[in-house]
């Protein structure tokens, strides 16, 4: 099976050679962690602990009744020293539980294997383990995994797709996860297939990772209903709409979700975390992330405890070069630039990217010359130049008419614009305005 290239897209330089051969190594145990009660799409959690409480690794410290949410666990053992709003990678201040380590790294008794195999479990039991482990999409969006795995009964799901595209330049954490724990990735996939009752498991991997494709193929061959599909290397191949279309030719309808075409998507890292939750009872308290970019002295793939401060992670990589000037949480196409580094790494943090002066453009914004390069690269088939202008001028109706809400914010239009117009940014702004007007 060979996947078809989607329409549009761009080829930014990959830079993946910097870290793709570096094994994921455990980071230094942090002395203090800041664990925000909102690390996922959906309702924030309420703290279950108080200042002064002793907590252990894997102990649940935040939860909520809301369905679209995921509980949060202590990532180190120690003492809760504060519960207060703290800097968050989204730029907001978010209520966070701050834990000072006791240095013992003692695990909670809550963390234990379930005592029976996945074959013996009911789908509901598996789903409950996934929820209780606080697992969210680890590709970056951090959507609660158990919610995706609970489609309404009228949606006929027939395929589960694991996203191993990792189309963002620089990032290699998913790549390393597939190389280092292919068995875990497939185990998680099988468990999720059981939850959904689907027969087709497909792992999509971009062709720029031939070693990961080979490793995963060897693992998938042992299963009768799991295949690996190599994908053309093209950003944004990992966007779920592009991924699904490439793999089985189905187009997620505008405004719809993958489940509308019978598909559920999960990231390969999420799958592996689910395997660990099911087999070891281990909640999502650490994750692999790539620390890279020309501005970082020693790039690495690190297994980082959730809540570790980004500045400390960077120091572990021997700090930043003198000409480093931009720190991005996530990849260079969709990640968020940070004004300061006293922020925690979250469940959805796939990378820390440090760019240098020479990699940043300060060019002034010119008039659109209607070159239509943005039209040609837009994977959603929009006219970004028109949308950008509508956003710039605050024309909500025009933006809506040209389908601003369908924009997936992949950044391809801004990437190619020769007039240096921040099209994606303007579209994001006008989308927010459209949503605000709809709510009224």
């Amino acid at each position: 099976m060979k996947a078809k290239a989607f329409k549009g897209g761009v080829h930014p330089e990959g830079h993946k050679e910097v870290t793709q051969r570096l094994s994921i190594v455990g980071s230094k145990l942090p002395e203090r962690v800041v664990i925000p009660m909102q690390q996922h799409i959906g309702a924030p959690c309420e703290p279950l602990v108080e200042v002064g409480d002793e907590v252990k690794v894997g102990q649940k410290i935040g939860d909520t009744e809301a369905f679209v949410s995921a509980p949060i666990h202590a990532s180190i053992s120690g003492k809760v020293t504060a519960i207060e709003p703290y800097n968050h990678p989204t730029g907001a201040k978010v209520k966070s539980v701050i834990i000072e380590a006791d240095g013992n790294d003692e695990w909670s008794q809550e963390v234990k294997p379930p005592g029976k195999s996945v074959e013996e479990m009911e789908p509901k039991e598996i789903l409950n383990i996934i929820r209780e482990a606080g697992i969210v999409g680890m590709g970056g969006a951090a959507f609660p995994a158990h919610v995706k795995l609970s489609p309404p009964p009228e949606k006929m799901i027939d395929t589960l797709i694991l996203n191993g595209a990792e189309c963002e330049p620089h990032l290699t954490a998913d790549h390393r996860t597939m190389i280092e724990d292919p068995e875990g990735v497939v185990f998680g996939l099988k468990a999720m297939m059981k939850v959904l009752g689907v027969e087709n498991g497909i792992i999509g991997i971009e062709e720029n990772k031939p070693d990961a494709i080979k490793t995963m193929q060897e693992m998938a061959e042992k299963e009768s209903n799991i295949i690996v599909v190599p994908l053309p290397t093209m950003y944004p191949q990992g966007a779920e709409k592009m991924l699904i279309e490439a793999i089985n030719g189905r187009q997620v309808p505008s405004g719809g979700l993958p489940m509308d075409v019978g598909v559920v998507n999960q990231n390969v890292g999420t799958s592996r975390a689910i395997a660990q939750a099911i087999r070891e009872g281990k909640p999502l308290i650490e994750r692999p992330l790539t620390v890279t970019g020309a501005g970082i002295n020693t790039p690495a793939n690190l297994m980082v405890r959730v809540g570790t401060i980004v500045e400390e992670i960077i120091e572990q990589c021997n700090g930043m070069r003198d000409d480093a000037c931009k720190v991005i949480i996530g990849g260079p196409m969709m990640g968020m630039a940070q004004p300061e580094l006293d922020i925690p790494a979250l469940k959805g943090t796939s990378g820390i990217l440090v760019l240098t002066e020479s990699e940043i453009s300060y060019s002034e914004i010119n008039s659109c010359i209607r070159c239509a390069k943005c039209v040609d690269v837009c994977p959603i088939n929009l006219i970004p130049s028109f949308l950008g202008r509508a956003g710039e001028k605050g024309q909500v109706e025009v933006a809506e008419e040209y389908h601003a809400l369908d924009c997936i914010e992949c950044g391809c239009c801004t990437y190619v614009c020769p007039a240096s117009r921040p099209l994606t940014q303007w579209i994001k702004i006008i989308k927010a305005e459209i949503m605000a007007q709809k709510k009224q």
Binding site: G256, D323, P339, L341, R370, A372, V375
Partner: protein, 325 residues
Amino acid sequence: MNSKLVVSSSPHLRTPETITSIMIDVIIALFPVALASVLIFGYYALVTIVVGVLAAMVTEAVLKMKTDIMSDGSAAVTGLLLALTLPPNAPLWIPAVGSACAILIAKHFFGGVGNNIFNPALVGRAILVMSWGTLMVGGSDFWPVPGVLNFSRNVAGADVETAATPLEAEIVAMGTGWQELLVGNVTGSLGETSAIAILIGAFWLFYKGHIDWRIPGGYIGTVFILGMLLGDGFYMDSVLMTGVFHVLAGGVMLGAFFMATDMVTSPVTPLGRLLFGVGCGVITMIIRLYGAYPEGVTFAILLMNAVTPIIDRYTVPKKFGEVKS
């Protein structure tokens, strides 16, 4: 560590391409065309081109009140394109006036680069054609047979001082071989005669991704088909070769690859680009076969420029996952 971090919205990467780099690519693409005009018509062609380019650049610099006459390179492109549409022996005030009008009226009256509705070079040319018609349109002293650095003098009318452009009269045309039209060793505007030079330049623009097949394909395809259907098969007594003649003779090649493809004044939607090319072809052929002017490329493209916004409006591509309601 740097004490100040740069914060901006994603994406954080950009291609190195800029408006200036695109303009430089267009100038590179026009180099073979300009070279061919000098080889065919002589050094005076070079003087005409230099005057046209300089006049455009100076006009732009004056209007922007900046001393940097290179600016973003777009004025140089306009001046170069305009010069390439001029008669080989035009007096030098012609490129100067044409370029100045192009930059002032067609470009800056509309708000400068990116905001003009009409192709500036063609507006400049249209003003010249309407103001000094006898000089601009064939049959006058300003249309010599190919000049100093001629490859071959065996062109129809080579024994007289001036010759009509190939479209001027079928009689002349019938004496012009298609190979001559391909190489460009015929009379005509400076840059329009050599199809080979134009194709070499166009290849560079394709390679760099600045033009796609839709506009030139729609334009040339339409001219070819209408030439076969409506051209009376006058050329070489062949319907097919009459279609070829209409493509190679006159300004269609230059217009299709370098004028109609002007980014600012052509549609942004893929279907729109194709329709735009087809429209240019239809209007060109109507003017050629039934109009008062012997050649219709300039006015065909300008008319299509005028309808570009409405083409864009009605050819919005189907978005991903569009549900029919």
